[in-house]
C-alpha cells in the first residue's frame, strides 16, 4: 500500500515514566545497560502474600508536572500519562495555539484504567457507607480519563480516543494514531499507554491465575523471558507517550524526526479469554498484516520488540508465530523483550516497546533480554541475551498480545 508522503506519521517527541527511569532518555540508557526495575512492592505491605515483587515507578512526584489540586483529583494512571505527555510535547517543540488545537488528537490507551480508585471506593463503601464515596470517584476511575486529562491540561480539542485491548492496548494506540494522521483526521496525535495497578486485588487475581513469577527473594532475576526457567511475569506500572505527526506538519515547523510509524494491524484469536492460541496464528496474522499495511517486506525487518512476557506459554507461542511470519528470515532477526527489565506494564507495555523501537532506530543499539541463562528448545531465536547489541536498525516491529486474544503489531521505520 503506498501512502501519501505528506501524511506519513512521524515521531517528534517522547516521554516516559517507567520502573527504570522517569524520562525517555533515562529509560533508554537503563534499558540498553540491562538494568532491572523490579523490587519488593512498596505501594502497600505485601507481607504474607504469594507475590511480593513488582516493577514500580520510583520517585514520581506528580506536582512536578501539574498543580497539587489537579493531581489530587487524578488517578495515578492519569498522572503518569500527563507527565509523560508533557515531556513528549516539550521535546517535540510543538507550540499549541488556537490555530492548531482542534487538529491535535489524543490516543491514550490503558488496560485497567482507574482500578485502584474502584478498589479504594469499594473499601470506603464497605467500611463507611455510600455517603463517604468520593464524588470524584466515577470520573477518576474512567479508563479514558488519562486521555481526557492530557486533552484538558494541554488544551487539545481534536479526537480523544481510548481503546482497550488488555496487554495489546499500547500497541493499538500507535496503529490508531498512524491511521488518524494518514486519513487527515488529525495533524498531530499525542499517543501512548499508561497503567498503574500495583494493588492487592490485582496481584491476588494475577497470582491466582498463575501468571506471576514467584521469585520473591530475587526480584531482579524474576522476569526471564524466553529462558527455560521462566515462571511468569513481574507486574509493572508506568506510562510512555509520544508525539506522532504528519510528516509535512513536522517538516514545515522544522521538527527533528526520530522515526516513522509506518503501519500496523490488529487481529483476534477468537480462541480463549486468557490463553493464547497455541498455534500462534492470530499473532502471526497480526505481524503479516502489519507488515503488509506498512508496505514492508518481512526481510526488511531488523528488530522485533517481543511481547515476551516471561510466561511459559506466551514466549513459546510468540516464538512460533515469529517463525511462521518470517520464515528463514526469523534467524536473522534480533528479538528482545524489555519486560525482562521493566516487567509487564499491561496497557503501557506496547508504548514502552514503541520507545525501544524508536530509540533502536535512532541509535543503532538493540536492548537485551536480561536474565537469559538457560536456553529453552521451544524458544530458539536470537533474543539478544543479557547484553545490548550494536546493530543498524532500519525497521523494528512491536508486538502486543492481550487477554481475550487481541493481537496488535505496529511497524516503525527509519524516516527518510
Amino acid at each position: 500500500m503506498s501512502r501519501d508522503p505528506a501524511r506519513r506519521a512521524v515521531i517528534t517527541g517522547m516521554g516516559a515514566i517507567t520502573p527504570i527511569g522517569n524520562d525517555a532518555e533515562t529509560f533508554w540508557a537503563n534499558l540498553t545497560a540491562g538494568v532491572s526495575g523490579a523490587g519488593p512492592i512498596t505501594a502497600y505491605d505485601p507481607t504474607g502474600e504469594e507475590v511480593r515483587i513488582a516493577a514500580e515507578v520510583k520517585g514520581f512526584d506528580p506536582v512536578t508536572w501539574m498543580d497539587f489540586k489537579q493531581a489530587r483529583r487524578m488517578a495515578r494512571f492519569s498522572q503518569l500519562a500527563v507527565a509523560a505527555a508533557a515531556q513528549a510535547i516539550a521535546q517535540s517543540g510543538l507550540q499549541i495555539t488556537d490555530a492548531n488545537r482542534d487538529d491535535i488528537a489524543v490516543v491514550l490507551n490503558t488496560g485497567g484504567g482507574g482500578i485502584g480508585d474502584v478498589a479504594l471506593g469499594e473499601r470506603v463503601f464497605l467500611e463507611h457507607g455510600g455517603k463517604r464515596v468520593s464524588p470524584f470517584m466515577v470520573p477518576m476511575l474512567s479508563p479514558s480519563m488519562a486521555a481526557c486529562q492530557i486533552s484538558i491540561q494541554n488544551g487539545l480539542r481534536g479526537p480523544v480516543i481510548t481503546s482497550v485491548a488488555a496487554c495489546a492496548s499500547g500497541v493499538q494506540a500507535f496503529v490508531e494514531a498512524q491511521r488518524l494522521i494518514e486519513h487527515g483526521d488529525a495533524d498531530v496525535v499525542i499517543t501512548g499507554g499508561t497503567e498503574s495497578a500495583i494493588l492487592p486485588v490485582a496481584f491476588a487475581a494475577l497470582a491466582n491465575m498463575g501468571a506471576l513469577s514467584k521469585r520473591n527473594d530475587d526480584p531482579t532475576h524474576a522476569s526471564r523471558p524466553f529462558d527455560a526457567n521462566r515462571d511468569g511475569f513481574v507486574f509493572g506500572e508506568g506510562a510512555a507517550v509520544m508525539v506522532v505527526e504528519a510528516a509535512e506538519h513536522a517538516e514545515r515547523r522544522g521538527a527533528a524526526i526520530l522515526a516513522e510509524v509506518a503501519g500496523g494491524a490488529l487481529t483476534s484469536d477468537a480462541f480463549h479469554i486468557s490463553a493464547p492460541d497455541p498455534t500462534g496464528s492470530g499473532a502471526m496474522r497480526a505481524m503479516q498484516r502489519g507488515l503488509k499495511d506498512a508496505g514492508v517486506e518481512p526481510e526488511a525487518v531488523d528488530y522485533v520488540v517481543a511481547h515476551g512476557t516471561g510466561t511459559p506459554l506466551n514466549d513459546a507461542t510468540e516464538t512460533l508465530a515469529i517463525r511462521s511470519a518470517f520464515g528463514a528470515h526469523a534467524d536473522r532477526l534480533a528479538v528482545s523483550s524489555n519486560k525482562s527489565m521493566i516487567g509487564h506494564t499491561l496497557g503501557a507495555a506496547g508504548a514502552m516497546s514503541a520507545l525501544a523501537a524508536v530509540c533502536s532506530i535512532r541509535d543503532g543499539v538493540v536492548p537485551p533480554t536480561i536474565n537469559y541463562e538457560t536456553p529453552d528448545p521451544a524458544c530458539d531465536l536470537d533474543y539478544v541475551p543479557n547484553v545490548a547489541a550494536r546493530r543498524q536498525v532500519n525497521v523494528a516491529i512491536i508486538n502486543g498480545f492481550g487477554f481475550g486474544g487481541q493481537n496488535a503489531v505496529a511497524v516503525f521505520r527509519r524516516y527518510a
Binding site: 466515577v138 480519563m145 484538558i152 480523544v160 491476588a204 487481529t267 479469554i273 481475550g404 487481541q406
Partner: protein, 427 residues
C-alpha cells in the same frame, strides 16, 4: 477517500425497554419507559434507587453456563445482543457460529465499547479480598473485568477473527464504537465490523458514586409530589434534574455495501458520517454552549459531505441533566442555524435512562430505524417547556415523517464528543 460505502445490515438490542430489537423499538414508538425500582440488589438505603434495568434476562440462554458464571453482566449482554444482530444479518449458521460462506472471519472485526467494563466484578473482588483474603480471589477476575472482556468473548463465541478493540470514552463510547467501526471498513481493514456498546453498572458502588456526584434524576413528580420512577428521566423538560442510570447493549452489524449486496442483503441504512472531538475543558462538566459537541457535529457533516439542511432527525444525547440538555440545544442551534427549528429532535433516554457506554450504540440503532422508516420515537415526560429550549423535541408521541438522514449525538465525562450520521439506503 476511498469509495467504500458502509451499510447497516443487522441490529441486536438488549435494553431496559426490551430484549430484542423489535421489542425495544415497539416500546420506543409507544412511549413506554423502562425505568423502575432497582431489583438487581437491595438499594433501599440509597436516596435514589431507581434504574433502567434489563428485565428477565438469563445469560445462559445465550452462552454456556460455565462461561456465563465467570463473566460480567456487561459481557453477557454483549454476547446476547451480538447473536441477534448476526442472525438478523444472515451471518450465523445452524450451529450459531459465524457462517464462513457469508463472511471471511479474518475480514470481520469489531469495536465493542464500554464506559467501565466489569466494575461490579472489581468491587466484588475487593470485598472478597478484605473479608476472605487474597487466596479467595478468582483467577478469572482480571481477564473478565477488563473493559475489553466483552469484545474478546464476543469474538470467541462467534469466531470473529479480524481487528478487535474496545473503545472507552465514557458516555460517548457507543458513538465512537460505531464511528471507528465504520472507518475500519472505509479504510479497507475489514469488510464487516460490529459497532457496539455494552454496559452493566447497576451495582452498589457505582450507584453510590453517581449519587455522590448529585447527577441522578429524582423519581418524585415535580407537580404532584408522587413517587414515579418512570417520570424521572425528563430530557429537555424545564423540571429535569438529572439522569437515570441504566444498562444494556446494542450491536450494529456494519458491512461494506458491495459485500452486503453480493450476499443479497438489503441494507437497513447507510452510515455516512462520523465526527469526534474533545472539549479540553473539564473532567466532569460540558463546555459552554456545547462547543465540543458543535465541532463533532460539523466534522460528521463534513465527513458525510452534506450540508446541515439535509439532516431530518437528531437523536439527542439528551441526558435530562440541566446543563447537558441546555448546551446541546444551543449547539444544535449554532450548527444548524435556521434549519434547527425544522429538525425533529428526540431523546430516547426519557424511556431508556442513560445506558452509559451502550447509549450511543442504542441510539445508533434508533437512528438506523428512523432512517429506514421515518417513524420517530418521542421524548417522553415532556410537560413543562423550558423557555430557553425552543427546538422541536417530538414531545410524548411518536411521529411518522419522511426522515431520511439522521444524526446521533453522544457526549462523555472528560469532554468526549461523537456524532454519527446515517441515511436511508436507496439504490
Amino acid at each position: 477517500m476511498s469509495g467504500r460505502r458502509v451499510a447497516v445490515t443487522g441490529l441486536g438490542v438488549v435494553s431496559p425497554v426490551g430484549i430484542g430489537a423489535e421489542a425495544s423499538w415497539d416500546a420506543l414508538v409507544n412511549g413506554r419507559s423502562g425505568v423502575a425500582d432497582i431489583t438487581l440488589f437491595d438499594a433501599s438505603d440509597y436516596e435514589i434507587h431507581i434504574a433502567g434495568e434489563v428485565k428477565g434476562f438469563d445469560a445462559t440462554q445465550y452462552m454456556d453456563g460455565k462461561d456465563a458464571r465467570r463473566h460480567d453482566r456487561n459481557t453477557h449482554l454483549a454476547v446476547a445482543a451480538t447473536g441477534e444482530a448476526l442472525r438478523h444479518a444472515g451471518l450465523l449458521n445452524a450451529d450459531g457460529a459465524l457462517d464462513a460462506g457469508q463472511a471471511d472471519p479474518d475480514r470481520f472485526g469489531m469495536v465493542v465499547g464500554t464506559a467501565i467494563g466489569g466494575i461490579g466484578m472489581i468491587a466484588d473482588g475487593v470485598q472478597t479480598l478484605l473479608e476472605r483474603g487474597p487466596n479467595r480471589i478468582s483467577p478469572f477476575l482480571l481477564p473478565h473485568m477488563i473493559p475489553d472482556a466483552a469484545s474478546g468473548m464476543v469474538a470467541i463465541q462467534y469466531g470473529i477473527r479480524g481487528p478487535n478493540m474496545a473503545v472507552v470514552s465514557a458516555c460517548a463510547t457507543g458513538g465512537h464504537a460505531i464511528g471507528e467501526a465504520m472507518e475500519s471498513i472505509v479504510r479497507g481493514q475489514a469488510d464487516l465490523m460490529l459497532g457496539a456498546g455494552t454496559e452493566a453498572v447497576i451495582v452498589p458502588l457505582a450507584l453510590a458514586g453517581f449519587g455522590q456526584m448529585k447527577a441522578l434524576g429524582s423519581p418524585i413528580d415535580p407537580d404532584t409530589g408522587e413517587y414515579n420512577p418512570q417520570g424521572a428521566s425528563r430530557p429537555f423538560d424545564a423540571t429535569r434534574n438529572g439522569f437515570v442510570v441504566s444498562e444494556g447493549c446494542a450491536v450494529l452489524v456494519l458491512e461494506e455495501l458491495g459485500h452486503a449486496l453480493a450476499r443479497g442483503v438489503t441494507p437497513i441504512a447507510e452510515v455516512i458520517g462520523y465526527g469526534s472531538s474533545a472539549d479540553a475543558f473539564h473532567m466532569a462538566a460540558p463546555a459552554v454552549r456545547g462547543e465540543g459537541n458543535q465541532r463533532a457535529m460539523r466534522a460528521a457533516l463534513e465527513r458525510a459531505g452534506i450540508g446541515p439542511e439535509r439532516v431530518d432527525y437528531i437523536n439527542a444525547h439528551g441526558t435530562s441533566t440541566p446543563l447537558n440538555d441546555r448546551y446541546e440545544s444551543m449547539a444544535i442551534s449554532d450548527v444548524f442555524g435556521e434549519h434547527a427549528s425544522r429538525l425533529a429532535i428526540s431523546s430516547t433516554k426519557g424511556m431508556t435512562g442513560h445506558m452509559m457506554g451502550a447509549a450511543g450504540a442504542f441510539e445508533g440503532f434508533v437512528c438506523a430505524r428512523v432512517a429506514q422508516s421515518g417513524l420517530i420515537p418521542p421524548t417522553i415526560n415532556y410537560r413543562h417547556p423550558d423557555p430557553e429550549l425552543t427546538l422541536d423535541y417530538v414531545p410524548n408521541a411518536a411521529r411518522q415523517t419522511d426522515a431520511r438522514v439522521t444524526l446521533s449525538n453522544s457526549m462523555g465525562l472528560g469532554g468526549h464528543n461523537s456524532s454519527i450520521i446515517m441515511r436511508r439506503y436507496e439504490e
